[in-house]
């Protein structure tokens, strides 16, 4: 594996006062010790952990599943949707969670392909967010449907009546894209997990031993297996990147292909992808902060340099997002169509304008004001706050795009503000479900890809060669 080691000696020369051991890659520990640390982080729980689990499980049971039952048996009338806001918070949730899910692929696949070293300790934390985020998005689609028990009619199942889904519909593209992405990202989560599962198998007993033995697929770490695994991961890393870009583009087409003012915009595809990365990376910042402050040994694996790196990434993405939003706003304004101008006025001065200003504040002002400063970027709690702000901002952005924008229709007689009803507890329940799944998963699979960290450290370690020490870079281009 090749390594971009160039940055590290360079950073050295520039800042003499900095201890090279601040960098995870230059602070190696023996493999056995690191494995033991990952195992301990996974196995240790305390009463606080279980208390949170119980609270989350209760929230999920009531707010998500009970209320969902009410929604199914009463009909969508218990939600706030009405004409013209046929699409409400549930579709906001779909877009939001798919956005969250983009962080995992971006960080894991794109940064892996680009050989960015800083990704190593947190690829899995991000990939888990992808998979669980997509689970949430799928649930949100089901929540939205009027007759959810007939969802399978969207699957192209051969049947005697010759009924077939309509592939003209952007919803079908969306359905196919999300399904593809869920399958790919689950496999992509699983493949780098195999060596760590094998590691856990060799260090556990009881039901865990059985579980890991099955899941590790007989991985023993010999040359043959590594060769095939790295080949497969390489193929997947390259293949999943276009899938990632296409998924959110297709989600944006649900709106861009419709003939509604404020939606039929050609910039929506790239704009949605950047928005997804914006919220996704912010969510990774938040999750890394939570992992680091609650799990054992995580301050060894997750360092300030990683927060620093993600902070820079977040700042750049925030700038790109602002650029796209500017385009999305200014072009219809310049075009000067009556209905578009009405809509833009409604966003900036209407009853929902506080949301619009809050969105701009959270998505642009907060990251730009904080993330430019290196010292501030190295404060995890501050980055966690930025993460929360950006996620609030991006949620508001989707809220403005869907139920606020559709308030302005071409038939002014139908204009009506949307007020979420049962959507609020259900959305709370979905956030609880995400946290619950994530917390449980953090105790079942090693959250740190130990083998990737070991690989990076080996590539950066110094070796004695005669009288000098050289960096042992195995496969640098």
């Amino acid at each position: 594996m090749a390594v971009t080691a160039k940055a590290l000696p360079h950073a050295h020369a520039q800042e003499e006062h900095e201890d090279p051991r601040e960098h995870l890659m230059l602070d190696p520990r023996p493999r056995g010790e690191m494995n033991a640390m990952a195992m301990e982080a996974m196995l240790s729980t305390n009463w606080k952990f279980w208390l949170v689990i119980v609270i989350l499980a209760a929230t999920v049971a009531y707010c998500l599943f009970y209320e969902w039952g009410v929604l199914i048996f009463e009909g969508q009338g218990v939600a706030g949707v009405t004409r013209p806001d046929y699409w409400g918070v549930f579709l906001v949730d779909v877009v939001f969670w798919i956005g969250i899910s983009h962080a995992g692929t971006f960080i894991s696949a794109l940064l892996r392909v680009l050989k960015v070293e800083a990704r190593r300790p947190f690829t899995r934390a991000a990939e888990l967010m992808t998979t669980f985020g997509l689970v949430q998005a799928g649930i949100s689609v089901f929540l939205h449907l009027g007759r959810v028990w007939l969802t399978y009619w969207m699957i192209p199942l051969p049947n005697q009546r010759g009924l077939w889904p309509d592939f003209h519909s952007p919803l079908m593209w969306d359905f196919m894209a999300i399904t593809t992405y869920l399958l790919c990202s689950t496999m992509y989560l699983y493949m780098p997990l195999i060596p760590d599962l094998a590691m856990a198998r060799d260090r556990s007993t009881g039901w865990r031993k059985l579980l890991y033995r099955v899941m590790a697929l007989g991985f023993r770490g010999n040359e043959f297996q590594w060769k095939h695994l790295t080949t497969a991961m390489n193929i997947f890393a390259f293949a999943i990147i276009p899938v990632m870009f296409s998924v959110h583009t297709i989600v944006s087409w649900d709106f861009a292909m419709a003939s509604r003012p404020g939606w039929s915009s050609t910039v929506f595809g790239p704009y949605f992808v950047i928005g997804a990365l914006h919220s996704g990376i912010a969510a990774v910042l938040l999750v890394l902060f939570l992992i680091r402050s609650t799990m054992k040994h995580m301050d060894y694996f997750l360092r300030l340099e990683h927060f620093d790196f993600l902070g820079k990434l977040s700042l750049v993405i925030s700038m790109i997002w602002a650029y796209f939003y500017f385009n999305d706003y200014i072009v219809p304004w310049y075009g000067g169509g009556t209905i578009e101008k009405t809509l833009l006025d409604f966003l900036a001065r209407g009853p929902a304008s506080p949301l619009w200003y809050a969105m701009l504040f959270c998505n642009i002002v907060v990251p730009w004001a904080i993330l430019w400063n290196k010292n501030w970027r190295r404060k995890p709690w501050l980055l966690a706050l930025v993460g929360i702000a950006v996620n609030i901002g991006m949620y508001l952005e989707r809220y403005i795009i869907i139920p606020v924008t559709v308030t302005i229709t071409r038939d002014p007689f139908t204009w009506r503000l949307y007020h979420p009803a049962i959507e609020i507890p259900i959305t709370i329940g979905m956030f609880a479900l995400f946290l619950l799944l994530y917390m449980l998963a953090s105790r079942i699979i090693p959250l740190i890809p130990v083998w990737e960290v070991e690989e990076g450290q080996a590539a950066h370690s110094l070796r004695k060669l005669g009288k000098t020490e050289v960096v042992s870079l195995s496969e640098l281009e």
């Binding site: 969508q76 949707v81 009405t82 046929y86 009027g146 009619w153 003939s259 071409r410 038939d411």
Partner: protein
């Protein structure tokens, strides 16, 4: 196949049905004649088994109306005046925005009648069609609204009763169209002008609504549609609506 059907096929073979500019069945609404009395709304609800929504949901904007009377005001306060009443129902677009967005073919174009029809049984409630309708005339069954005795006795046996989670909309009273066509076919003749009357047109005391074969230039509806006051709603959307509105104006003396 009846003579009427063959006629329709000959007439429309040249262009794809969904894009024929005029369509087969058409409606003309004279806004000068409309008094806003809402008799059409009530008649439509009775004919087509619309649910009784109840105060709470109606107050939230969930009134179930396949046809509604829209009222607008013009001018700046205090010099405001009402514009003409604007009855609004499904325009039965030839190029309907609701059709291609349905993932399960629940919103489809009828080849024989050149109408936009909704297959209730097939609908899964994505509400994409309603979202994409520029006229916002599609109605969703937000709940199963109660239908206690004796109200259940008023249901029209020719029209399906819809379940919660299903989209519905004006059909141009397609059950009456079929009755008219069957009667004509049994007598081995074409449907006569004025033989098929939808509930709204039948109930209108001012005769503001005219209905018939728009593709036959001899009918009353086809001739009214040529009136110089005629216009289509949101014509710039290129939806090819089958409903022609005759602009009002004589009432207010502003423009004719």
């Amino acid at each position: 196949m009846s003579h009427a059907h063959e006629h329709a096929h000959e007439h429309q073979d040249a262009t794809p049905k969904a894009l024929s500019a005029t369509g087969k069945w058409g409606m003309v609404i004279d806004q000068d004649l409309c008094t806003g009395c809402q008799a059409c709304v009530a008649a439509c609800a009775m004919e087509n088994n619309l649910s009784f929504i109840g105060e709470d949901d109606v107050a939230y904007g969930r009134s179930m109306q396949w046809i509604r009377i829209e009222r607008y005001w013009q001018g700046e306060y205090p010099k405001v005046s009402m514009t003409d009443y604007q009855p609004m129902m499904c325009q039965q677009c030839g190029n309907a925005p609701c059709e291609p967005v349905c993932p399960v073919y629940a919103s489809v174009h009828s080849a024989s009648e050149d109408l936009n029809v909704q297959v209730y049984n097939r609908c899964i409630g994505t509400r994409y069609c309603a979202n994409n309708c520029p006229y916002q005339v599609r109605e969703f069954n937000w709940r199963d609204w109660p239908l206690p005795e004796p109200m259940s006795n008023r249901l029209n046996p020719d029209v399906t009763v819809r379940q919660r989670g299903v989209m519905e909309k004006c059909t141009f009273c397609i059950q009456r169209i079929h009755t008219g066509e069957n009667t004509a076919a049994a007598a081995n003749r074409d449907v006569l002008d004025g033989e098929v009357v939808p509930a709204c047109a039948q109930a209108c005391p001012a005769n503001a609504i005219t209905f018939g074969r728009i593709d036959d230039p001899t009918t009353q509806v086809a001739q009214l549609a040529q009136d110089s006051r005629g216009y289509h709603q949101l014509e710039e959307m290129n939806t090819l609506p089958r409903v022609t509105y005759l602009k009002g104006g004589s009432k207010h003396g502003s423009n004719g």
